[in-house]
Symmetry: C2
Amino acid sequence: MQFQQLVYFVAVAETRHFTRAAERVHVAQPSLSQQIKALERELGAELFSRARGNIALTDAGEALLPLARRILADADTARLEVQELAQLRRGRVRLGATPSVCTGLLPEVLLAFHSAHPGIRLLIEESGSLDLVRELARGALDLALIALPLPPSAPALTTVELLTEDLVVVSSPDRPAPGGGGPLTVAELRDQPLVMFRHGYDLRELTVAACRAEGFEPSFVVEGGEMDAVLGFVRAGLGPAVVPAMVAERAGPGLRTTPLAGSPLRRTIALAHRTDVAPPRAARELMWDLIGRYA
Amino acid sequence: MQFQQLVYFVAVAETRHFTRAAERVHVAQPSLSQQIKALERELGAELFSRARGNIALTDAGEALLPLARRILADADTARLEVQELAQLRRGRVRLGATPSVCTGLLPEVLLAFHSAHPGIRLLIEESGSLDLVRELARGALDLALIALPLPPSAPALTTVELLTEDLVVVSSPDRPAPGGGGPLTVAELRDQPLVMFRHGYDLRELTVAACRAEGFEPSFVVEGGEMDAVLGFVRAGLGPAVVPAMVAERAGPGLRTTPLAGSPLRRTIALAHRTDVAPPRAARELMWDLIGRYA
DNA sequence: GAATTCCATAGGCCATACCTATGCAAGGCT
DNA sequence: AGCCTTGCATAGGTATGGCCTATGGAATTC
């Protein structure tokens, strides 16, 4: 059984006429006759009663017709669906990102991507790098934006470095500037109880690690909030916080930004995906957008 | 798109392995690779992510898989249904017959046919010849058993004469034999009020026509019943009736059968079907049974 | 009865599906 | 580290078979 044969069969069934059916499907009449005959031979039953000028379906033809139509409709549907996926008219991207990335660089990229491909659903998972790597490995995510280096448990992931950004100290302009106004050193944070993120933010691990490298354990005024809450606490004057420069820029008014001297605190944001399976078409497109914009 | 390509595609999707999929569908691995590639080219999208030892469906492949399965299942269903029809494991015969034929010759034929082909539904329409011919022409019947000659309105029907049978007079043994015991002439029915069938029985038209040919109009004790009722009335002694010899034979005890002298009353039962369309396979089989048994 | 209509058949051509042999890249083993 | 195995892709040759044109043959029409 072949798709062409079914097309021919349906054409004859609908026109009740071999010659006109042949015209409709754009083949010579003998070719159509042959294929109908081949189909009949394969199925072991006549499909049409060929009375001169009165072609009619036999009972076997009657039984085949609805199935043939459905098969052809399914084939059309398949072509259409696959094409829509390929042309990014449909689909989804499951993107994981750390909270600071979600706040910082994602919004404008996602806006541009969504404008270009309005049919693609964007599913964002906001988690710590560790969780994101696990979700990637499980296949629950197509892509993830994480801070390098990868956790040691990382399975076979491919990473593309997108950007390295400095971390800065934000504080309330209503309070004395930490360190007196100029660039700060990490050591100067020793006496500054910080507003700190909840566990899971790699910013937290990064900051704590930098303090420990300077020989002290940082102290926290308050800890546990998400990005927005932390900025709010800082703005209210609870204390300074260490955030990515990009976040500080966008945080709006009411915050003073102080760079860290010699940029000892940086982080590298990378795009990660599984090495063993290529990301879906839509995800590859988003990867391109990200790489083109930042790398 | 071709059925083979879908078969190969499903095999690879299920085994997640080109080489094993090739074994499963009994082709060489390069052939399978080529066909998958051809399918991907036609659809305009990759269907598998070919990572060494980890073949996985892409999103396009995910979209295609359920449709491919359904198409293949439909194709199997089509093959099966058509075969079952062809092998008389399923199907139906719509058979029309006059009431006397239904009573007389149909039962044993239908029993034999049903035993041979238990999957075939038998739909009997019991009507007068005129109605049967009309139903045949409409395509509402596959076959009809009618009394010849065909009504003048008969469209293009092919008839096969099955049998010619004498009509006989049945009467109650408790009453004096009509005509005194020997064979009767039609003329002798002039003084015999008959038990007569309802309109629609060709036996009625036949009998009345024979009487008129002898120059008299028959009179009826009672009229309007079906075959069983008529026999019952005769058995009860209401009067004699003219019935086919075959019916008289089967009518059981309680009836006296008197032949008509010189067999002036006969009828020919024929099998009729449309000339322009061949009857379905099952109907042809039943035709063969009828012709083999009676012609 | 000649013409027309319409499906089937015949024969040649070419596309393509299949095969075997080989290439090439990635792990795994000694 | 280097060889071997595994596994998909590629190359080239063969043959099946689908499509074409030309023709046959039966039934209907004028």
